[in-house]
């Protein structure tokens, strides 16, 4: 399906206080516990907590790279300017039964609808970016909102965090140290600059910066070498989406430990479990999808190649799905 559907609509609040949303042939409703999604060939129900956490990431990451699976049925594929919304597209059973469904939307149309949905369905006291022990409950009838929490986005440094005019380092005033990183050394590097080189001699404590992150599973750009992007993030509990990248992605575990569940990108069939401890480096091939589990809050360096040409090169077989062979 490549038609750009633009039909969106919003209902009056239902008996639980929540609005319903229509995006092309998809409808989204929520009640006290669940989100109900219907499309022309099927329906799906999912806990509202899981759905809002996934929706938050999809919005904050601007649909990210490739496929953002909310769960084994629902998700989006980013085509950078337009976005597919799908049900069952990357699920072997739905595909074989021909019950999968996909519609393409202009980026701004689906982003607008998703933002409205997140805003209406997030109650006072619930932060979909936070770890479970750091936030309240998303359940129950509609009560208030949490606009401050849900309008945070990924940080995107232009050259490096801390440079004049670029993203600022984090301080106690805006970003207190997370409870699980209370032991992280906060000392900054010693910098001596000769006059005239103030914009070129720069260094900052990345670990201290990450210890002050107030969000989980939110890769944010801290340094840029042409299309090579360092996107470190702090992780606790479960990655709320299953990421099926359209290119190779790399992980370097900076602290603690994450377990990755790796599945086939198209079918969801299990492929491997990857355990990463501090100092471990691993590629995520372009034909898989992955979901991370982090018991203690950990620091993960996600490394991306932001080249706009990669998705096509990989999809057409001109570039391999693995980064190196030997």
């Amino acid at each position: 399906m490549t038609d750009t559907a633009t039909l969106t609509s919003v209902s009056e609040p239902n008996e639980h206080g929540y609005r319903s949303f229509q995006l092309g042939g998809f409808t989204f409703d929520r009640d006290e516990h669940f989100v109900h999604i219907e499309w022309p060939t099927g329906r799906h129900v999912t806990p509202v907590e899981d759905f809002l956490k996934a929706l938050m990431r999809d919005i904050a990451w601007n649909f990210f790279y490739g496929t953002v699976n909310f769960d084994s049925v629902i998700g989006t594929v980013n085509h950078y300017g337009n976005v597919d919304l799908f049900a069952g597209r990357f699920n072997d059973a739905y595909r074989k039964a021909e019950l999968d469904h996909m519609e393409n939307f202009d980026h701004d149309v689906i982003m607008g609808a998703f933002k409205d949905m997140l805003s209406d369905w997030t109650n006072d006291g619930f932060d979909p970016f936070a770890a479970p022990q750091e936030t309240g409950s998303p359940y129950g009838v509609k009560h208030g909102d949490n606009e401050a929490a849900i309008t945070r986005t990924r940080v995107t440094a232009q050259r490096m965090v801390g440079l004049p005019g670029d993203e600022k380092i984090r301080t106690d005033e805006t970003h207190p140290i997370n409870r699980m990183f209370a032991d992280v050394d906060q000392s900054e590097p010693t910098i001596e600059v000769e006059p005239g080189y103030e914009n070129d001699v720069a260094s900052f404590n990345l670990f201290a910066y990450l210890s002050r992150s107030d969000v989980t599973w939110n890769p944010s750009i801290v340094s840029v070498c042409k299309e090579s992007l360092y996107c470190p993030t702090t992780e606790e509990f479960i990655l709320p989406i299953i990421h099926g990248n359209d290119r190779v992605e790399w992980f370097l575990q900076l602290s603690d430990e994450i377990t990755w569940r790796v599945e086939d990108r198209e079918t969801g069939a299990p492929r491997a479990t990857v355990v990463m401890k501090a100092g471990d480096v691993a590629a995520m091939p372009a034909d898989i999808r992955h979901q991370g589990y982090s018991s203690k809050r950990s620091m993960l360096l996600v490394w991306e190649n932001g080249s706009a040409e990669l998705p096509d090169l990989i999809a057409t077989g001109q570039a391999p799905t693995v980064p190196v062979t030997w």
Binding site: N205, S223, L254, E257, V275, A282
Partner: protein, 168 residues
């Protein structure tokens, strides 16, 4: 029940103390994950070898064992040095002449000491990230074995030793 908050210990590895995870295969080839450990790689490296531990098309991340003083290098594009273990002094230098083609990829070694002006220096410890700006020179010094992760582009001195460093 205790009413004190739990104490958490953040685990950063080092040359002296690292533990490797791994790949449990269900239906896969472990080589697909190009899995290595930066500290293990650096523990077997000679000082200032630039060993690729990650590669995405032309871009690489290099593990560098910093020990003693390096040669001066000139970089055609920004690079970023993240110290993962130990302490490294990074001197930055503005050369009078262009020492590397601005269109090239990866840094090149400079013959001897470059002529020009010192820009300043950074003493970077664990977790500190330093910019190595395009068109300029830099050199590293470390009194004890330390580890740098370098964000850069595959260059003339990048070492590819995947068979030696990766799980298979």
């Amino acid at each position: 029940m205790s009413d004190t908050a739990p104490q958490y210990t953040t685990v950063f590895a080092s040359l002296e103390n690292f533990e490797k995870g791994g790949v449990d295969v269900i239906n896969d080839d472990p080589k697909n994950y190009v899995f290595s450990n930066v500290f293990e790689v650096a523990s077997h490296a000679k000082p200032y070898e630039k060993i690729a531990v990650a590669k995405n098309m032309q871009y690489v991340l290099e593990a560098i064992r910093a020990e003693g003083t390096s040669e001066w290098r000139a970089t055609p594009h920004d690079e970023f040095a993240l110290v993962l273990d130990g302490e490294v002094t990074i001197e930055l230098f503005d050369p009078d002449e262009t020492l590397v083609d601005p269109e090239a990829s990866g840094s090149v070694a400079v013959d001897g000491d470059p002529a020009g002006k010192p820009m300043g220096q950074v003493v970077a410890g664990q977790g500190h990230m330093t910019m190595l700006p395009a068109g300029r020179c830099y050199r590293f010094t470390s009194d004890r074995p330390s580890v740098i992760l370098l964000q850069t582009i595959d260059g003339p001195d990048t070492q590819h030793r995947w068979a030696d460093i990766c799980l298979s």
